[in-house]
Amino acid sequence: MEKIVVVVVGTDRVGIIARFSGHLFAHNINIEDVQQKVMDGIFVMTLLADISQSSSSPALVRRELEELGREMGLKVMVHSEAVLKAMHRV
């Protein structure tokens, strides 16, 4: 099962979850977990999503979400969950 972690960094505002989840829904990507927190005074949200049922590639999803981030004045990173697990789990 292929999973991605979307990290959204910036200033909290209305519609962040709505717009990002809407994009993922349009690609038939299931969101499994959402977390958000203010760290160092910066709003951070993460979405864990399963893209195995989607016909879109992670690269395409990344491009679209980064573009959405630019529109909303937010920094967006899309990682493979496997990379994060390799880095943060022994």
């Binding site: 991605i4 972690v5 990290v7 960094v9 977990d33 977390q35 958000q36 927190k37 760290m39 951070v44 949200m45 993460t46 864990l48 590639s57 992670p58 690269a59 990344r62 920094k75 990173m77 899309v78 990682h79 493979s80 969950e81 496997a82 990379v83 994060l84 697990k85 390799a86 880095m87 943060h88 789990r89």
Partner: protein, 452 residues
Amino acid sequence: MSIGVEEAYETAGMILFHNFDIRAVTLGVNLKDLIHPEAEKMCAAVEERLTRLGTRLVRQAQAVSGELGVPIINKRISITPAAWLIEPCPSPQAPLLLAQAINRAALAADVDFVGGFGALMHKASTQADRRLLESLPEALSRTQRLCAFANLASTSAGMNMDAVNQVARLLKEMAAASPDALACAKFVAFANAPEDNPFMAGAFHGPGEADACLNVGISGPGVVRAVVDKYPDCDLTMLSEIIRRTVFKITRAGEMVGRKLASLLGVSFGVVDISLAPTTAIGDSVGMILHGMGLERPGAPGTTAALALLIDAVKRGGAFASGNVGGLSGTFIPVSEDTAMIEAVECGALSLEKLEAMTAVCSVGLDMFAVPGDTPAHALAGIIADELAIGMVNNKTTGVRVIPAPGRQPGDCVDFGGLLGKAPVMRVSRFSGSNFVGRGGRMPAPIGALRN
């Protein structure tokens, strides 16, 4: 256990704010099977192979970067030492033809650099080794993407002082043959050159390697600097610990990228080189890590000790993260490519002698530093011999990438722009060692090499 928001943010922050990336994916390519007495035939076959494999490398590296969300900056190829390829070629033009064929392949495939145009001559040299070396001024000034090396010393063989003198003379010719001595930035003289180093300018595909393998160079000076800056008051044991933890993480990412890419290319995965490799980007600086550790400037008393702690911590973290750590895996301290090192030379904090001392504890050597253009060849030979002796005696790699900048004096600088940065001209001792290096011959291997 799923990934927490803090962990995801830490990784995203490394890339977004602290220049973490996979600095180089380097495909090692064996070319020994293409050796042929007719230089034109051999060059055509080399060009075809490098273009084909290079094109695949670039395409697949982009795909892996897109899939995993980790930036890959440079796509490179390292080849069988080129001196072997011209061994049977009687044509005096063979080295230059080969250099140009490799360069055309790199341009066609959009590979950033091809390394391996060099020779292993640490004990002695063949006629082909010497011919290849003599071609360097022309080969490096007439190509853009070719990198060259010469291994001039090893712990087991000693130092080939005749070759050191030849290289010193050729460095002067390379400097004269190219604007701002740019050709010299594409050549490294080594002691104990690793066969699987993914970093340029010294990468080559060594004799103990397979037909092809993929090596990865990670880089995170910015990431390490950021974490060191967070702990301004902790003691040195804790400082080592926090560096180790960070390097563990970035090495794991590098290994994952490398394995994935190797698998897509259908080649074996070679090594992760965990060297800290700075760039001129703001904050992506080894000098700034040293500053964060508590040194006013690189070169201040304590610098060598700080660097020793830093690279030890890097190795601890990297070796725990991957069983395939290799290549150079030290700390690059290139003067021109690190803003804090440039400033340290400019303000008088860092001398050539202190820089040499620093290389005794980090593996990579005297890198990307400029000296006055009128520095005599015997002084260049002495600088190279001193540095290679450190590697030879301490059973480690050291290298020299020196820019004898034509018409420049201390206080001037050479600005290459881009990745190669800006090199302030460093002062060289005005006292001569010419009668020593001029003796030539081979410096015997250190007694410590007799281990059997």
